[in-house]
């Protein structure tokens, strides 16, 4: 984000833990699936079972350790006057600008894991179609509510 016009605030550190924990289930499923595949390959075809398991294990370790940290680091947000900026994405870096006057309604959501680590998700809904919902995860509950109340002030009746 070298050329970005504004510096983005990183997410709460708690969100990183949340992302690591959320990666637990998919990577576990991946390992279980690969073990099953290896067993089938051994029993039915007489192949060595370990290569898929090893591969899946490496991918799972990457999913658990490296990927969440990189994704966490890519997220950022900033509230400047009458706009909310949200940046995210490792492979495709996206920086979204939402004029606050465009917001239709606002969600503040919190899952069990997120609650345990004191973070919440802020979801802005606009009338747009492609990026109609703008997600900002990993802000503290207070920040999320403060943001919501600030954004609320900017919402005024539409001319349609």
């Amino acid at each position: 984000m070298s050329l970005a016009p504004i510096a983005l605030t990183p997410l709460e550190p708690g969100q990183r833990t949340v992302m690591h924990l959320h990666a637990l289930l998919p990577s576990l499923l991946l390992v279980i699936g690969s073990v099953a595949l290896g067993l089938i390959a051994q029993l039915r075809l007489g192949w060595v079972p370990w290569p898929p398991v090893l591969l899946a294990g490496l991918v799972a370790i990457w999913m658990l350790t490296v990927a969440p940290r990189r994704r966490w680091a890519a997220w950022g947000w900033a509230l400047t006057g009458d706009e909310l900026h949200v940046g995210h994405g490792v492979w495709a870096r996206v920086h979204t600008v939402v004029p606050l006057a465009r917001v239709q309604h606002i969600d503040v959501a919190q899952g069990p894991v997120e609650r345990a680590f004191g973070v919440a998700r802020l979801v802005l809904h606009t009338a747009g179609t492609a990026h109609a919902t703008v997600l900002l995860p990993g802000v503290s509950r207070q920040t999320a509510e403060h943001l919501r109340d600030t954004i609320r002030v900017h919402i005024q009746a539409e001319p349609w």
């Binding site: 050329l3 979204t96 606002i106 899952g111 009338a127 747009g128 179609t129």
Partner: protein, 512 residues
């Protein structure tokens, strides 16, 4: 409520969080009954070998668990009408607290399904301009409360409207309707509709007839060989044909296909666009068209989000193009609407004037970065080349497809020339397309959100794509600007957001 942070304490009892009617739980069970009943045979098959007490205990546990989950979902769903917004809280474990400001509630819908009527209940939906389907659905509350809710939301909405001092633009032109010109803006003669039909060449008819033949053949239980023999016997074509006869058959076949395609296009265009008339009624446009079904649509100008002007390879040479608008949904006239299916440039400009828009010549627009060609080459030519190379390993015949690559290469080279943009005087103009070409005209005040996206490849080429989100459009065919230089992309975003918010403020004060 257990979470003190989630539920706000309200002083006014009217504003305190409320729950849906408890019968909602029962309604949910009854509505879910068909799928539950379908699941029973599967369950029986699963437990067929188990003992009766075991089955009973399992059923009891499953039923009580389901009941508990239903109760918890009901208990966790609350709604409240506070001073300035509707607050809806929901979620079993993952909690969601939604705030819908009264200003954003376009309408309150009350629906009563048969089951709900038996209980004297009603569903309330709060309709906002958002893209989602159920933004604020309350199913079910007592009918009296639903009506009270609607009145309260409307009352409070009226209050906030007055407080925010915004002029409702759509009202002013309506009042001035008789005085402003009620004139014909665009019409199509029968001749032009037929010409338009030629460009509507469609292979749908062919697909239908091929499908019909196949299903008939399938029903009669012919295999292909028998069918072919029968055809050969009827038409007198020898079973083993010389090459010339094959070529002749192929020519006749493609002529038939062409004829069916043209006929389908003509029929479809005539049915849809016969007697196309567009009239200006001051602040809104009325469109009537259709041969058998005369359809009439009214487009309120404030609802127009953007305009597209598109042409094809041949139509452009002949000077024809199509004008469409993207409209915010509502009253069945949402999405993309044709304003002029086939029009000359001199007919398009007056139409744009009615919409209070202008277009600019492509030469006055800026071209995207040079890297766009490289990226187009890699994506449009590189990938097909890989596919062909891979197929050539299997069969050398695949190499016959390589001339396609040449065509794709030409398209990729030309893509930059024709991908242009300009943001000036409150409008964003975007043009894209090598063979078919589309021009978007977007009032900056209509932009919902802007994104700048840089993929891995784009970062290597120092490029960025600007994604422009508008209301009422589809997922495809958006006025995005691909592969600008990074600095240019940020500059464009700066320009769009600076003008976007300010123009709107002046728009609202203009009485038109």
């Amino acid at each position: 409520m257990s979470d003190a942070g989630v539920s706000a304490v309200a002083d006014d009892p009217e504003e305190a969080p409320r729950r849906l009617h408890p019968a909602t739980m029962l309604l949910g069970v009854i509505q879910g009954a068909p799928s539950t009943l379908l699941g029973i045979p599967a369950m029986l098959a699963l437990v067929a070998r188990a003992d009766l007490p075991f089955i009973l205990a399992g059923t009891a546990i499953a039923v009580s668990l389901a009941a508990f989950v239903r109760w918890l979902a009901w208990y966790r769903f609350t709604y409240a009408l506070t001073e300035d917004a509707v607050i809806i809280e929901s979620g079993l474990f993952s909690r969601n607290r939604r705030m819908i400001p009264y200003e954003r509630v376009a309408d309150v819908g009350i629906e009563r399904r048969p089951l709900q009527r038996m209980f004297g209940l009603a569903s309330v939906t709060l309709e906002t301009g958002g893209a989602g389907a159920d933004e604020g659905a309350l199913s079910s509350v007592v009918l009296a409360e639903a009506e009270g809710l609607r009145d309260m939301v409307r009352r409070r909405r009226g209050r906030t409207d007055a407080a925010s001092l915004s002029v409702n633009v759509s009202v002013a032109p309506l009042a001035a309707r008789p005085s402003s010109g009620t004139g014909l803006v665009f019409a199509m003669t029968g001749q032009r509709v037929l010409l338009w039909g030629l460009f509507n060449f469609s292979l749908v008819g062919i697909a239908v007839s091929v499908g019909a033949v196949q299903s008939v053949a399938g029903a009669v239980d012919w295999d292909r060989e028998t069918l072919w023999n029968a055809v050969a016997a009827r038409t007198g074509v020898a079973r083993s044909m010389p090459a010339l006869a094959w070529a002749g058959a192929a020519a006749v076949g493609s002529a038939i296909v062409l004829a069916i395609g043209i006929a389908t296009g003509l029929i479809r265009a005539t049915l849809r666009d016969h007697g196309f008339r567009l009239t200006d009624e001051g602040g809104r446009l009325r469109r009537t068209r259709g041969l058998l079904t005369r359809s009439e649509a009214i487009l309120s100008l404030p609802r127009v989000q953007l305009v597209t002007i598109d042409t094809g390879l041949v139509r452009r040479r002949l000077g024809w193009s199509r004008l469409r608008v993207q409209v915010l949904g509502g009253e069945g006239a949402g999405g993309r609407q044709d304003l002029a299916p086939m029009a000359r440039a001199e007919e398009i400009d007056p139409l744009l004037a009615v919409l209070r828009l202008t277009r600019i010549a492509p030469d006055d627009m800026e071209v995207v970065a040079r890297g766009h060609v490289w990226r187009a080459m890699l994506r449009r030519v590189g990938l097909p080349a890989l596919v062909i190379a891979g197929a050539a390993l299997v069969t050398p015949l695949a190499l016959l497809a390589s001339p396609i690559l040449l065509l794709l290469m030409v398209a990729a080279t030309l893509s930059r020339r024709h991908h242009r943009y300009r943001a000036a005087s409150g409008l964003l103009h975007v043009q894209r397309g090598v063979f078919g070409r589309t021009m978007w005209i977007v009032p900056m005040a209509r932009i919902q959100a802007l994104s700048l996206r840089r993929t891995w490849l784009q970062r290597r080429l120092r490029l960025a794509t600007v994604l422009v989100d508008t209301a009422g459009g589809g997922q495809s065919c958006r006025p995005d600007i691909h592969d600008l230089r990074e600095a240019d992309a940020w500059a464009l975003i700066d320009k769009l957001r600076a003008t976007g918010t300010r123009v709107e403020a002046t728009d609202e004060t203009l009485p038109d």
